[in-house]
Amino acid sequence: MDKRKIQSSSFKILIICGIFAALIYLILRTILYFGGDHPIKEMILGLILLFCEIFVVIQGIGYLMELFSVSKIKNVQIPEEVRKSVLENPPAVTILIPSYKEPIEVIETTILACYNMNYPNKQIVLLDDTRYDLFENSNEAEEYKKNLQTICIRDKINLFRRKWRGAKAGIINDYLAHMRGESPPEMEFERYDEKGSSLQTKYIAIFDADQNPMPDFLDELVVKMEADPQIAFIQTPQYYTNFLNNKVAYTASMQQIIFFEYICEGKGAKESMFCCGTNVLFKTEALNDIKGFEEDSVTEDAATSVNLHEKGWKTAYDNKVSAFGDGPETLESYFNQQYRWALGNLGLFLTLIRKFFKNPKALSPAKWWEYALSTSHYLIGFVFIVFLLLPVIYLTFKIPGYFASVYIYALIFIPYFAIILGTFIWTLKKRNYPAKGLFLAQWLMMASFPVYIKATFNAFLGKKGKFITTPKGKNINKNFSFKMLWPQILFSGVAIWGLVWGISRIYFEQRTVGSYIANAFWCLYYALIILILFYFIDPKLSYKTPNFPPNDDQKKTDSTLQKEE
């Protein structure tokens, strides 16, 4: 990835312009709200809309600030003696693969990829977190257990099981305890890797059971960790590659891109990166320092990062895709994944608010800002509903929430919107990602608003939620039910209702046509966004692996090889 691509002065100027445009928009909107004299119901609606707009503008400014941080990143030179030392005396690394009833073939592939890593001083441990007590058929449970054991024996991988508790965070913490010489209840540790002499290793790499690291994954990361002893972990990107034949996986992968390209790079530049749970290298000492992973959250990784930052540890991000994995393949599994992330992050958001009022100095202002931005992002579900309902209310009942003529609206909204959207598309195009995919990613996220709203309610009610892994392979439920989409169908109906009212008002009233057109446009826009979900109902995409003939150079190599044979 060529970071210089976005380090030009013109790029920095564009970002600054974007931030100014967003701030000017916000100021003008606030003036417009407080400037007029309106009935109370309009003031209430207007205030709700204003809050939602403030939320969106702040998120937009946050994104631009991440871009600005990325534009200032300078390459850090690692001293040669550190490289030499790692080469001559590589510190021990334990590779942990937590797995909850993952299909055997998925685990096999991940183990194989880990096994093939170049790094010499490593031991691999499969953390089998499967709830055997929940299997309906005990023979099936035994068979699954035996299959895992067979793989571990064959591939010389250590196998760890214990009495189930705390899901992924729980099993990692129990293994950490085992590393320290403790024995969690009902622990079974089957050691098939005879090379690793000591269980206590300096570093721990974590991969979800569906993530395939490349052979060089650890090489540079260990060097970077050794160069700075204050780094608790280095996170690397997640990259879904099961999208060639699947629309949902394709769109989810584009959402990952938006997050892992610039947002994470910006966070990394400010040492505020949070752990994403997989494809990450931890320093064991740092994890022990905070007594392991946070177990009270379904997004244990982000919550753990807060604890590390509180303790003064640094965190880093390495924007090099060194592991590939699978994303959700059906709308149902996508919604489940989004719900878990939203619930965990919003729960963390509330925890952070409490923490902030208790001890504002627990984290630096930059880290508070970063966490607030990321964990509150999932409030977008409520924002979407407000944005959808306001035009409908205006067109149906003529109650405005945006106190300005359509011309003023166009004058202040369009420049702000154009700069923000333009920067977003342009920066990702700079890294060769197609605009179509980016739009699909944004639309699917917006159309998932009921999931985020449910997560928001549950987070505010203090519900913890269950850690459910994204189903893969044979575990995927391919039976689609329209029941799942009832909120989207309802709200698309509401938006279409608004659109019909708008068109009829334009036709019959022929006054304030501009504001009717603007509101009807938004009704149409939101209806279309929701209806895009129908595109994903059948997630199959037709893609055929191309079978290219070898080029001339390859033909030559081919014939040379045949002669040698």
């Binding site: 990259y239 895709v321 590939f324 060769n432 990602y433 692996t545 003939p549 070898p550």
Partner: protein, 78 residues
Amino acid sequence: MKKQELLDALNEALRTEEAAISIYSKHFEAFSTRLDIDPKIIEQIQTKIAYLNTENQKHKNICIELIQKVKEKNQDDI
């Protein structure tokens, strides 16, 4: 080297390295198709991947043949 040691090494190579190539190439192929770059470059990448897969298959066949030959040898020291 003992016959069994060689057979173990060859079998492990077959199971790990040869199988891994197809995993990596699957990921790279997907990676290349998503990039919004000159289609000619994508085609070049995919040609190389297809070539790598063909070569991998050949190498795999050679490895299988070799295992068979070693198995057929009567001597224990190789």
